[in-house]
């Protein structure tokens, strides 16, 4: 039992460290990729090709003064970013990142906790993350923050519905909520991938995912031209950094989920071992985030709501209906 606890703790620490670091590294990637797509160079001065820029930014974030506005609701203001970051990491607890492997004769299962309702857990913890922006915005005592928080709540609540409904169809096909089961369901090679049978569900899921992560084209809640930095307007230093880490951790989570549910997870692909395969898939999804950000403009809040309730949700329902009929037959 104690071995299990120790193992879990080690896994937690590793996940925390690796993904925190990754979140930082993705910012570097993001800046570089965006720069290249815009014919720029991106960060170049700190370290070779600006590689240490992440470190510099990290040091800056850590050493910056932590300012709490005098009219803010102090405890809530201080706790909001923690909620945002914590939920992002907690959600990772049920995600199997890699296939099992042996380390020093010990079989390691690279999942912190294989819950049988893993997917549900991930989605619900992610939904709780909504409290981060909401509380941050409401406690800041700033009109831009409040507007940002309102937008965040509306956006997250709405798209939670779409993502939930979208994921329902594949689940009906698989019949399990455990992500390992979902992964194993697609073990039969590239044609077993759920994306072929559930393409609509995948599209809906990925669109809703973008919306929940406030990525372009749905980055309304911190759109500078309209609401300054939205709910994060009053934040500085590491507290702002936690929102940041939370967002990037969520990006990774979403990338893993997409890979696991629709793209065959960590099953071996041709000659590629499963561990590498899932990494490649995740890397593609992360790249897709950046790619989309470089290419597309963002949309208006009313268009966002229209898209959610009038387009995506009906399509999701129709998709479930059709899947249900197909499964029944």
């Amino acid at each position: 039992m104690s071995a299990y606890i120790i193992e879990t703790i080690i896994k937690v620490v590793v996940v925390m460290l690796v993904f925190s670091a990754l979140a930082g590294f993705i910012t570097y990637l993001e800046r570089k990729v965006l720069a290249f797509m815009q014919r720029r160079l991106g960060p170049m001065y700190v370290g070779p090709y600006g590689l240490l820029q992440v470190l510099a930014d990290g040091i800056k974030l850590f050493t910056k003064e932590d300012i709490v506005p005098s009219n803010a609701n102090r405890p809530i203001f201080m706790i909001a970013p923690v909620i945002s970051a914590a939920t992002a990491f907690i959600a990772m607890a049920a995600i199997p990142f890699f296939p099992e492997f042996d380390l020093f004769g010990h079989t390691v299962r690279p999942i912190i906790s294989d819950i049988n309702v893993g997917l549900l857990f991930v989605l619900s913890v992610g939904a709780i993350g909504m409290y981060g922006p909401l509380l941050a915005g409401m406690s800041s005592g700033n009109k831009w923050s409040l507007l940002g928080a309102a937008r965040a709540t509306v956006q997250l609540l709405s798209f939670e519905v779409v993502s939930g409904l979208a994921i329902l169809a594949p689940l009906m096909v698989i019949g399990s909520l455990s992500l390992i089961d979902i992964n194993n369901y697609q073990h039969g090679g590239i044609f077993d991938w759920l994306v072929w049978t559930q393409p609509v569900a995948f599209l809906l899921f990925i669109i809703a995912g973008y919306a929940e992560l406030n990525r372009t084209p749905f980055d309304l809640l911190e759109h500078e031209a309209e609401v300054v930095a939205g709910f994060a307007t009053e934040y500085s230093g590491m507290r702002w950094g936690m929102f940041f880490i939370g967002e990037y951790a969520n990006m990774i989570t979403l990338a893993f989920l997409s890979a696991l549910i629709f793209f065959g997870g960590f099953n071996d692909l041709w000659f590629i071992p499963g561990g590498i395969a899932i990494l490649l898939k995740v890397m593609f999804f992360i790249f897709l985030f950046l790619w989309v950000r470089a290419a597309w403009p963002h949309i208006r809040p009313d268009q966002l709501m229209w898209l959610c309730w009038k387009v995506l949700m009906p399509i999701a329902l129709v998709n479930i209906l059709i899947t249900g009929i197909v499964v029944m037959i």
Partner: protein
């Protein structure tokens, strides 16, 4: 100058139908037209081509236009090396941000002399009117745009702006080709005064 190749299309908003079915059709048409992927394609293409346009300032610097308007300079007369400024005060008058001030006095030679001349660079908007109005090409814009300093007054006093006499003697004083400077064919356009005797 209308470019015949340009294909500008005026969008007539009235043409858009507001009927529900028409709107539905429009949405479907736009959704499946795949224009979104054109955008993705273009940025991806640019990334792959890797045709970077960044200038890595301060390592690299772009040449600036001779008409660039940066920190001012006071020039000296080419022959004598005396200050060109005659203290007429036109720059002070024309300055729209009221950042130029000058003190003048009666010199011992009976001429107007400037005792002190300042530009408050905290206020200057670098519009170039002073250089344009100057009848003597005395106050001009220099090419120096890097002006971080401990005090903004560091560039604004007469001794900061006036060409140092050693620089002048080396012949390193540069003429100003910007607004207010005589055009290259100025000589040709001069009309002789009938007062010539």
């Amino acid at each position: 100058m209308v470019n015949s190749k340009a294909k500008y299309v005026e969008v007539e908003l009235e043409k858009y139908s507001l009927k529900p079915f028409d709107r539905f059709k429009r949405v479907m048409k736009r959704t499946f037209k795949g224009e979104l992927f054109v955008g993705l394609g273009i940025v991806f293409r640019e990334m792959v081509r890797f045709n970077i346009h960044t200038t890595q300032y301060p390592g690299e610097k772009l040449p600036i236009s001779p008409r660039y308007r940066a920190i001012h300079e006071l020039l000296r007369l080419l022959e004598s090396g005396n200050e060109r400024c005659i203290g007429c005060g036109l720059c002070e008058k024309i300055c729209i941000s009221k950042c130029i001030r000058m003190d003048t006095h009666l010199g011992e030679d009976g001429r107007k002399h400037i005792s002190e001349y300042t530009i408050n660079f905290g206020r200057c908007i670098f519009c170039g009117y002073c250089a344009e109005v100057c009848p003597e090409l005395a106050i001009v814009h220099g090419p120096r745009y890097e002006n971080s300093s401990e005090q903004r007054a560091h560039f604004g006093l007469k001794e900061d702006m006036l060409t140092p006499i050693d620089v002048f003697k080396k012949g390193a004083q540069k003429e100003y080709p910007g607004f207010g400077a005589p055009s290259p064919d100025a000589d040709k356009r001069i009309k002789k005064t009938p007062l010539a005797y």
